[in-house]
Structure formats: C-alpha cells, structure tokens
C-alpha cells in the first residue's frame, strides 16, 4: 500500500496522542533524577524504590480495596438495571434509564463537590467508603452499557424454555442467564475496576488523609527528586490498565461468539 497524506496524518496523530505516555517508561528506566534528555543510562532503581515506600503501599491497598468493591457493586447494580431495561416494561422507563446514565456526561468535579458537601452536612468522615460510593455512581452507566448489550443479544425465549423444561426462575438465572451474560459480567467487572483505579477527581476530594494511588502520585509531584519514581509507578498503571481493558474486550467478544452473534460496537 502506498502511504498517502491521510496515512501520514494518522501516524502523526497517533504519535502526538501517545508520545507523552511513551515518555513514562523511558524515564522510569533512566538513571537520573532530572526528567530531561539526553538519557543517562538504564536502571531499575526507581522500581526498587517503589517497594520501599510504605505510604505508597497504603495508597495501593486503598486503591485496590476501592476498585474491587466498586467493580462488584457497580456490576451487580448494573446487572439488575440492564435486565430490567431489556426484559420488563414499566412506567417512565426511558426517564429512569436516562437518569441512571447521567453520570456519564456529568462533570466529575460536580459529582465530587456535591458528595463532599453532603458528607460534611451529615457530619460524616470521608474515607474509602465514600470514594466507593462516588466511583460506583460513575461506573454503573458503563456496567449497564456493557450488560444491556449482553442481555439484548440473548433470545428471551431461552429463559422461558428453561422454565418450560422444569427449572425455577432462580435456577434458570443460574443455568441459562448467567452463563450467557457471564462474558459481559467479566467485562463489566474489569472495566469498572480500571475506571475506579485510575479515577482522580472524586478520590482527591473525598480521600481525606488516606490517599488512593492517583492521589498519592499527584502528591509526589511536589518533590522533584521523586519524579522518576512517579514515572515508574505511572508505567505500571498504564500497563495494568491496558492489560485489563484488553482482557475485558476479549471476554465481551467471546460472549458474542458464544451466542453466535456479530460484533456491533464495544469499547475497544
């Protein structure tokens, strides 16, 4: 194929988009505290330093606890909402669904500030649980979007067939519904986990004195000497996020294949 001007544009576009991220691993392995070219040499010192910083470990633990809780909560709620949206008719359905999907377009700052105001008014301490609440709100729309696809791809008479063959509604859910939407559930879990792990604004407003990983990272930027370590941590986060998203998408596509369906959209 001949490289036309459009190809050139596309390459340039990708370069501008991802070059800054490419700097992360480059400086993470650079043997020097100043983030500037020329590079000094190769080192894994900064990664080693990560292991020796207790505050970082605490932040990681916080982030993991929050991300796992959010993934489970948002996916469960998303599962109910998606099933209701695809299987039942009820009054004001479109309105209710639009309302649930709202956080998708709401500025995060607004969500964060409102949550903080509510907490303060109630005289409650902010902490992991309040971040979990905020992130769950944020993640539910993603979970619904993924699971709605799984449910609407599934022939409704499959559930009826299982009941007709003697299963109860509950065992039908376990034997037929769950296996058929399982790839969607896994995809939803992974994507919610990733979103929560990377989220900064809500976590920043609500984390108090127990920062999450992104908030901790941001805090370290004040110390120039720690910059290479931040780069190393950033590298790990980027790799982890991409890996999780790829796995999520793989599961989503496997679900479609299993149901013998064509792919129509998706996140990746």
């Amino acid at each position: 194929m001949k490289a036309g001007p459009l190809t050139l544009f596309a390459l340039l576009y990708l370069l501008v988009l991802y070059a800054p991220i490419m700097l992360l691993p480059i400086f993470a392995f650079n043997d020097g505290t100043v983030i500037a070219f020329p590079l000094r040499g190769f080192t894994t010192e900064w990664f080693g330093l990560l292991l020796e910083t207790p505050a970082l470990h605490q932040a990681t633990r916080n982030s993991l606890v929050i991300a796992v809780s959010v993934a489970v909560l948002a996916t469960c709620l998303g599962l109910f909402a998606a099933r209701a949206a695809t299987r039942y008719r009820f009054p004001a359905k479109t309105g209710i669904l639009a309302f649930i999907m709202l956080p998708l377009v709401l500025p995060e700052v607004i969500v964060a500030i409102s949550l903080l105001v509510v907490l303060m008014q109630l005289g409650l301490d902010s902490g992991n649980w309040s971040i979990i609440a905020g992130h769950t709100l944020l993640c539910i729309p993603f979970s619904i979007a993924i699971l709605q696809g799984s449910f609407s791809n599934m022939d409704q008479s499959l559930e009826e067939a299982a009941i007709d063959l003697g299963e109860t509604p509950l065992s039908t859910f376990r034997l037929v519904t769950l296996p058929l939407v399982a790839p969607g559930i896994v995809a939803s879990l992974l994507i919610c986990f990733t979103i929560s792990l990377d989220e900064f604004i809500i976590a920043f407003f609500l984390s108090g004195n127990a920062p999450t990983l992104p908030v901790y990272l941001w805090g370290q930027l004040r110390f120039p000497a720690r910059l290479p370590m931040v780069m190393a941590l950033g590298t790990i986060l980027v790799v982890l996020s991409i890996a999780l998203l790829v796995i999520a998408e793989t599961f989503r596509r496997r679900g479609l294949r299993r149901a013998g369906l064509k792919d129509s959209g998706g996140f990746l």
Partner: protein
C-alpha cells in the same frame, strides 16, 4: 394408541372453557371453548395476530388468562407455574441453549429427574436417535442448521414425555422442501410417541396435512373446529371457506327453504336443490352466496358425453402447474370468473385463452352461505 374412556370417546386432555384474555384494552382471546383429546394432533390455524400464540402460551402457563378455565388432564391450571404443568413448548425460535452441546440441550429437562447418570445418557441418546440426530450429541448447539435445531428442540421437549406438546409455528423458519420433510416426520413422530400435539400455524395447507382436528381462529375467537375434511368440505362460514383452500363464490337467491331441502337460483348454474346440511346456519329466503371449490367443476374435454348438469364458459386465464392446470373461466350468466382446476393427464390437452368449453358440476359439492 388413543386412550379411550368407557363411553368409547377419546378422553379430553386439554379442556378450554370460556377463555378470555385482555392485554390492557385489547381483547386478544374471546370466549375460547374447546376440548383437545388424548393423543390427537390438534392445530390452531388462523391469520397473523388472531391470538394463536397467546392461546398456546396460556396453555403452557406463560400468559395469565383474564377469565375462564384451562384444564390439563382434568386439573385446573389456574395459578400453576409453567414449570409445573405437564406441557412442553417448542418455541418458534427453537430457543436452543447456545452455551451447551446438543446432548446437554436435550438432557436439560432431566436435571431434576431421579435417574442415574447412565439412564440419563441413554435417554438422551434415544431421544436424539428418535429425531435422527444420533451422531450429533457432542456438537456445539450454535453449529446446527435450521432443520437440526428444530429436531433438537423436539427431542428436548419430548424427552420429558409431556402429556401435551405445544408447537408454535415450528416449521415457519424452514425452507419449503425442508418444511415438507419435517411435516411428514412430525406426523410419524407423533404417532410413534402417542403424545397429544397442539400445533400453531398460519399455513392452512400445513394444518390440513398434519392435523386430526383443526380450530380455525379469527380475531381471538374460534370460528370452526373440525377435522380437515369437514373443514374443507363444509366450512362453517364464508370467511373460513376463503381461508381454507380456494373457493369460488357465485351470487344466489334463496327461493324456498324447508327442513330438509333448500331451493336456490344460482348465477351461472341456474335452479338448484340443496340438502339442508349444505348450508351452515339458518337458511332464509333472499340474497346469498354459493361456494364451490375449483375441483368441483369438471371441464368436459371430450364433449359428446351428455351430463345432467352442464354449463358453458369461456377460458379467461390459464395457469399451468405441471400436474394441474388452473383456469379462470367466465361462466355464462355468472358475473365473475370462477377458478377451475384440471388434472393434466396423458392425451389431455391444455385449453387456451378464449376457448369455450362445457363444464359439469355436482350440486352435492356446493355450499350455501346466507
């Protein structure tokens, strides 16, 4: 195969009594009453939207009825969940579980059965054998053709030995050839297992070919319930007559009615005397219509032999089907053309447009609709 009670009459397995169903304002089922007998092949036939699926799903337990009773095997089904009814449903989409193999699909209903794993495996094998899919057990369900899916759905439902098997347009997704093959297979299968089949279809030919009895439905009500032959020969209304097969209608004037005989003047045919049984409902003097099937008029190719009842007509249109030819013929004295069928036999030529011909008819083949 049919199990008969003391009176010698086949027992009712499904009894429908004044079944009504409303979807909000919409009256989907209107006063449905019928008895479906043990071991029979029963069809619900009607145009799209007449409520066939609704009635079938009501019997299966997937739709609540607004009033009336549905009895299965003598037991009132009010409030009985679908998984507790002695029925199984073959869905129009077949509803094969895509995440399971063919064997797992067929054995799905046996999960709670008190059987040893070997017995279950044997039952699944036999069920697959019965529908001609003996070697397909390990196949993934989504890698099947339409006809194969249909067979899996049948095996999966029949393995539970339901008292009644409900089939919602099971053949409509198949092409014409496959459909004919499956029609014959379904009839054979039904005779073999002796289970009552209730089939929903909008294809009158399919219903005639397969059923012991047919209920013709229009707008949520049963218009006629009879065996195929009666349905075809003695339709209860003009609407049923038009829906089942092809029928010509000639304007008529009823001139005299009696307890046994009806006198009428029919356009194109002249004065006829009919048996009272040829008129569904009450015959009364005045304008009416006489129906006759395309095969009830016989084209007299070798004119010379005299017939008592002969009419003359002009061929207006010829449609050649190979084994049969259908002619549109303008009868002398009749306002519209009538459709007449003739079997193509050796030595018999096909008439051409514009030719005139003599036709014989038999008054016993007529139906009078007042």
């Amino acid at each position: 195969m049919r199990d008969t009670s003391d009176t010698g009459r086949p027992q009712a397995i499904v009894t429908l009594q004044d079944v009504e169903k409303y979807y909000g304002e919409y009256h989907a089922l209107r006063g449905i009453s019928a008895e479906i007998r043990q071991g029979e092949f029963f069809s619900l036939l009607g145009p799209s939207g007449c409520g066939k699926t609704t009635l079938l799903r009501a019997i299966a337990g997937f739709e609540d009825i607004s009033s009336g009773t549905i009895r299965l095997d003598g037991r009132d089904m009010e409030g009985v969940a679908p998984n507790r009814r002695p029925t199984n449903l073959v869905f129009q989409s077949y509803a094969i579980f895509p995440h399971l193999t063919v064997s797992q699909n067929v054995g799905f209903g046996l999960r709670k059965a008190k059987m040893s794993p070997e017995d279950k495996r044997r039952a699944v094998g036999e069920a697959l054998e019965m529908v001609g899919l003996g070697d397909f057990g390990a196949r993934a369900a989504h890698a099947l053709s339409g006809g194969q899916r249909q067979r899996v759905a049948l095996a999966r439902a029949l393995i539970l030995k339901p008292r009644v098997l409900l089939l919602d347009e099971p053949l409509s997704a198949l092409d014409k050839k496959m459909r004919q093959v499956m029609q014959v297979e379904l009839i054979k299968l039904q005779r073999e297992v002796g289970i009552t089949f209730i089939l929903v279809t909008h294809d009158q030919e399919e219903a005639l070919v397969m059923s012991d009895r047919i209920a013709v439905m229009f707008e949520g009500g049963i218009a006629q319930l009879d065996d195929p032959e009666t349905l075809y020969r003695r339709p209860a209304s003009r609407r049923v007559a038009e829906f089942i097969g092809m029928m010509n209608f000639l304007p008529a004037q009823v001139t005299g009615t009696g307890p046994e005989r009806i006198e009428a003047e029919v356009a194109g045919l002249g004065r006829v005397t009919l048996d009272a049984g040829q008129c569904p409902g009450e015959a009364r003097p005045g304008a009416a219509a006489v129906g006759l099937r395309p095969e009830s008029l016989t084209i007299l190719f070798d004119s010379g032999v005299a017939h008592d009842r002969e009419v003359r007509g002009t061929v207006a249109e010829v449609t050649y089907y190979g084994d049969m030819t259908y002619y549109d013929i303008a009868l002398d004295g009749a306002p519209d053309t009538v459709s007449v069928s003739a079997r193509n036999m050796p030595g018999r030529r096909v008439l051409e447009r514009g030719e005139t011909t003599a036709l014989a008819w038999d008054p016993r083949a007529l139906s009078l609709f007042c």
